[in-house]
Assembly symmetry: D2
Homo-oligomer: 337 residues x 4
């Protein structure tokens, strides 16, 4: 950490801070500048010492040097992590494609979807059984009945099942049916839930919260890794900005940045990331070009009659065309899809 | 709702949408404009019909007319809601002040705090026992021991206790000790938790998520109200923007806007809303001037040694001076504090 | 336009608004809903009537139906505009590549650059002679001497020259040397300057301001089109969001959205859009996959010693590799580059 | 500056950077940490060395220590600057109030306005003659005729005139009539214009761009100060965020932050900062409570018929009531208004 002192800080302030730093088990190096003094605090400063040093007398700012996460970092594990869950492989040169409806609505709907997305090249099936909805008046999902239908669709097609879990107490139930546990964007900082999935042996798809920084996303992953579960896929699904022509803003540079910081694979969700069907195909192709390790896409047999998210769902033909385009890009760049 | 058709929409598209609207139980009025046709859909459109209409053929956009929340709306209940919890009164002309440390750290710390903030005029005590922390390596709170210390501080001072609950399974335990249940910003859309506090008889302090829209905040409140608990205080604690000189951006116009939309009282948190001690006093006074029904402030006997949030905590003198300034503003504007 | 009345609006308020709408030359249709009345105002509402109706008694909100721009819209001109300027062709299936240093620094630097980027496949040369700099203490460009060096580089390589003009009074001078006039992001709403370039016969590269909405960008283009210059390339160069790991956030969905709204070609600037050299190559490839009609890239013989923007510049090898990757993606998707 | 090296940086990289730092005239201190090496570069680093160091081999990040502005800084001039222009005094304990219409529309309108705002306590008159408008189809202002009407209103009431100048070539003309030159938000980084007003003897009201950082605002002020004009009022007028219930987000903590960094006075614009008439009065009072040195408010005799900005203008009664409320808050806090 670098402790920057204010211009008006006194020698007593500097001494005080040197002692504080040393009392935290760090070594202090004082550098007297032309206008200000800074103190470098050397040692492992991943604990929240930053916060307490900031309150010291005469301190202008504290700048951390080390990333706050450890297990997720490329420094700890330089080679990319590849995650397998049944039919799904994600990372280290293989692009996984998770597709299916926002919500499981009926046996026919999910089976039809599973067959169609498999035929077009998807390697896993998505579908929500527990739905966190902004309004209490919206459809909340089929719950365990939905999980059973997902499992039946897996039996019929061989596709791995990716589905969301919204509360720690549901983890055992969802893990019984699912191959991959999805943590939704609204729950990215639901630490009790992160700990619960960290204690299972199921791979986790962790979605970035719409206002989470990348450090916060990696620290959320750290909760899961720290709980003993090494199989975390990070998912960029769009952030909240001033833009209104898209529901969220999909920042694909996240993919490249994450590959420079973490060994965990990065999945992109162009459906939530744009919020409009017509934007999805090209943003899926762009995600592949940016180096995404996976895609998660909403597909529905009849988007106009979907119980949720129809406005951003592809129909079967659109999904097949999207896959075709993505495969061309992946092929041109030498990636498997 | 107003369904705006694309310029190139065909009469068949318009007919299709009229039928869709009527199949949803709404009445359709077609208005042929000079460049586009729009269809007004009349009726109660609070359910998520908007989403499905957006996927219709030839549809450019769907614009809702009614607010998505109902019980929280001023249209349902025009007079402001006043909430009482022991020593704390919030709303309808009375400004409540909730003050105390970010985390309960020890018996001495919390008792000392409770006495100091009471003396300076606070009407409730805050203090975290269950702490949701960004990093798994940070201090996570004293849990039930912390709750017991809060209850002891209430016994000693008479101050109502406001404390956070982070998971639905903890609600009975926290409700045993607390006068007001706080839902933190990260959990604003943890619907299982909202339902759980909606089923208790404890008033709830609901913090706005840093990227939540006001409609999303009011819909989160709607979950609680809909569960049978009418006592929800909304709390503005800052949003995430491009600004970096403050930790969050505190938009005080929220207070005025909410007063025009909802009967629920509005509390402001200038500690999290700015993230720096030196910004807190004037932003607290500004909150009062903007019409806030309450303040929640972090106060610590020794911020430099606080186990969390020291950088944004007031010490006792700073808190007393802040109260003094706020009381002057409240007095000038004819409000009780 | 749709004028939404408040729930408490009186019949007199509604009558007043009907008269106001008709006094503006529009036709009013009153629709009485279950909870609110809305008035549809039919006619060409591109003028700023919206603003004045919003101040009417009992008005809750005014929602426009028509886009505020006209000449830029796809509704006016459905086929894509292709722009040619010397060696550069952009749009309608052809991807132009504009590359070169942030600033012209010397004859050797710009000539070396021009030759290197041409060899790697660029179709135009960029380079700043008038530099708008955040700090008055930074290098401000070589001014006319820089323009002369750019022209010399064009003579030597045949590459069209793209360079920024920062003030209306400089337009004649810059137009003397440049093939394309660039309007920088900071000047997107410098209307005097937009009018000045609108009066020339030089194609214009118009950069989006970092907090401009797409409508604002298209209205800025409208100033140029309205001035009689039909050749405007829109340029997405990143927006300001809460993200800090990139300098700006590059929202590639803009490309797809603009293609659905306007006939003008869309260029992407991954150098400014990310702000870090290592993020540029994959974001360039992603831009092509998203359907960009052009790329503008910063390239410098020795980025570490560049007088500006070295941190986001590619060196010659990096640029050649980026071009190679982009060509593969373009080829896979059937686009010329 | 602190140069943070990557974990994998080699001793050669570190040596290279030490030499680079020294070649820039700074002194280098190498600090070998447990995981990384950092190099402190001591000296005046206000020039853009940061940028070029960032491109060095093995460099992870460069963190500046000194603020990039100098003349605007409190370190250079610790006592607050008070600015006087005719009837207007702003700063150092005196709150100036600038009020009037968005646009000058007619002699009657501006005279009526001037008299009404003076009566209610305003100390200067605002009014736009040159209007930068988002759309080329909107009213663009009365130009010099408008300036003459402003001067006539000054003659009639004694109020100082504050009006916008949009291009460097207009500065002499506007300065002939105006007491204070306003730089609008869209022109905050129009450096040619900043230099032009920096060369006059008229005080300048510099509005923050909606996505400008505070450092960028202070650097824009620095252009003016550096040009020899010491009288710059900074104006917070709202930033662009994801919020849509207000047109911009008004972050009042800016006032407190600026007071801690600069001696220049800070004016708040609650009209543009909220974009809705009903939000203005309380946000004006909150601005005063936050410590603003001045207010700038839009007032119109008949907002519904205003040629611009009617939706955010106060009528005369609303302005008088707002002044009343603000004076109470100012009085309670011991400030002159």
């Amino acid at each position: 950490m670098i402790v920057v002192m204010k211009k008006e800080a006194t020698p007593a302030d500097v001494n005080h801070m040197v002692q504080r730093i040393e009392s935290l088990g760090l070594k202090a190096h004082v550098i007297v500048g032309t206008e200000r003094t800074v103190i470098a605090a050397v040692g492992d400063d991943r604990k929240t010492h930053k916060e307490s040093l900031e309150s010291g007398p005469g301190v202008a700012e504290v700048m951390p040097i080390l990333a706050p996460y450890k297990r997720a970092s490329l420094e700890l594990k330089p080679e990319p992590t590849q995650i397998k869950a049944g039919s799904l492989t994600v990372g280290a040169g293989t692009i996984g494609v998770i597709a299916g409806p926002c919500s499981v609505e009926s046996e026919e709907q999910i089976l039809q979807c599973a067959r169609a997305v498999k035929k077009a090249g998807a390697t896993a099936l998505r579908g929500g059984a527990f739905k966190p909805r902004t309004s209490p008046y919206s459809f909340q999902g089929m719950k365990e009945d939905g999980l059973k239908l997902l499992a039946a669709a897996r039996d019929a097609t061989g596709l791995a099942v990716v589905t969301e879990v919204v509360a720690s107490e549901d983890v055992p139930l969802v893990a019984k049916y699912a191959d991959v546990l999805q943590i939704g964007a609204r729950n990215m900082q639901n630490y009790r839930l992160l700990e619960a999935v960290g204690a299972t042996d199921r791979p986790v798809l962790l979605k970035r919260g719409p206002s989470a920084t990348i450090d916060e996303l990696l620290l959320a992953a750290e909760y899961i890794l720290n709980g003993g579960n090494p199989n975390v896929m990070l998912c960029e699904r769009g952030i909240r900005t001033f833009e209104t022509h898209t529901r969220f803003t999909l920042p694909l540079a996240t993919v490249v940045y994450l590959h420079a910081k973490t060994h965990l694979p990065v999945v992109v969700d162009p459906s939530h990331g744009t919020g409009h069907t017509y934007l999805v195909p090209q943003m899926a192709a762009a995600s592949v070009a940016a180096g995404a390790d996976g895609l998660i896409l909403e597909v529905h047999p009849d988007p106009e009659r979907a119980m949720s998210d129809g406005y951003q769902s592809l129909n079967f033909e659109q999904f097949a065309a999207t896959m075709e385009m993505c495969r061309k890009v992946a092929g041109a760049l030498g990636q498997k899809m």
